[in-house]
Subunit: 234 residues, 2 copies
């Protein structure tokens, strides 16, 4: 296995404040992996043998209910940790992670977690901040699902992805990984049919453009007004 | 102010593994407060001047949307921390906390958080486990709200409260604090009308008994079957 260069992780939130020697020590215990599109990084309820840092690509985190319904809990962007079951006080993964595109990840043995957190307080703090941020995000989604109409929820989901992964193009802001209408349905607790109906209506009004596994937000401000439940002026 | 005895917090998860001297040091910096029913412990978006441990009572954590809709995020039981904005990497409270009954809490200055976490690793770890558990709970609610019918969601909410606070009585398991139908609606993203309709139907079938601000689950197994989406046999 070739050596991993510390430039891979320098400056990323979980590793901020570490000396170059610390970074080397942390990297010595990691291995890098390629995960092909649609392959699984880890499986819900599987033993948490590793935790991961996404270096390149996008990963969707999916929870499956006992009767087989899928909900996309969140998308992971480059620089984010995932599979940090040990930081949650668990020994199994609470959800599955699936590569939305070809990905590169670093993997550390799961049982290394307490060592790393103990030796590098900034690593522990950085991870817990991540967990804290995800808690707030999950609670915001609880509030959305409990109070908003489906049109608002879908608008919020698209705006969240634009903020997280958006890339400016001539047409507007492109969500920078393949996303299907079914994915959007699984993010917002609605049906493929409803997502298709909404995207078609928004496209006719010039708010978005969408194609196969592709969504561009043309008018983010108008979509935001819609997400906030403000009606558009005729 | 009279001295707080360490027996108040000995053995509680955030303080496990601390020596008696440590517990005394931690308690020296706390003050105890009574919060009357329906009074606010802390306010959403208010500056996080303190974090709290609930010693006695029940507290509901409520998020209010910009247009004034309320969602009950969770209930806090005795022995649990609350208002731990600093552990989430925030300086304001993400929600409001309201006493569901007369409560006793311990309060520490918010800016003491990093000191305590640094001096007492078990306190830091215990708190982060709490945050991790709340993340999983919030994600479970996202999945429920995204995939379940309202009847299942209300059944799950009642079972969660039974597990958290249930007290055995002759009639069944009583949710051990005043809870209104409006509260249940705000926990499950539905209307007062729907909660009333469901409780009435369940009462007729002998699953629950309910009165003013009072719910007893008479047949938890049957309610669980309903929560899991399994139809009852005629």
């Amino acid at each position: 296995m070739s050596r991993l260069d510390r430039s891979l992780i320098t400056g990323l939130p979980p590793f901020q404040g570490m000396t170059p020697a610390d970074l080397d020590r942390v990297l010595q215990q990691a291995r890098s992996l390629r995960i092909a599109k649609d392959q699984t990084v880890f499986e819900q309820e599987g033993e948490a043998h590793s935790f991961f840092l996404l270096l390149d690509g996008h990963v969707r985190v999916v929870k499956t209910t006992p009767d087989g319904q899928q909900v996309i809990v969140r998308y992971i962007s480059p620089g984010e940790l995932m599979g940090i079951a040990h930081a949650l006080g668990r020994t199994t993964y609470p959800a599955s992670a699936v590569a939305a595109v070809d990905c590169v990840v670093l993997a550390w043995p799961g049982n290394l977690w307490p060592d790393l957190a103990g030796s590098f307080p900034s690593f522990a703090t950085g991870t817990y901040k991540t967990v804290g941020a995800r808690l707030q995000e999950a609670q915001a989604r609880v509030v959305e699902l409990a109070t908003e109409q489906v049109e608002q929820r879908v608008a919020h989901a698209l705006l969240r992805l634009v903020k997280q992964t958006g890339r400016k193009t001539e047409e507007g802001i492109l969500i920078d990984f393949p996303i299907s209408r079914q994915d959007i349905a699984e993010m917002t607790g609605t049906t493929l049919h409803t997502v298709s109906r909404l995207l078609t209506a928004w496209e006719e009004r010039g708010l978005v453009k969408s194609g196969r596994q592709k969504v561009t937000v043309v008018e983010p401000h108008r979509l935001f007004a819609l997400a906030e439940g403000r009606a558009e002026k005729g």
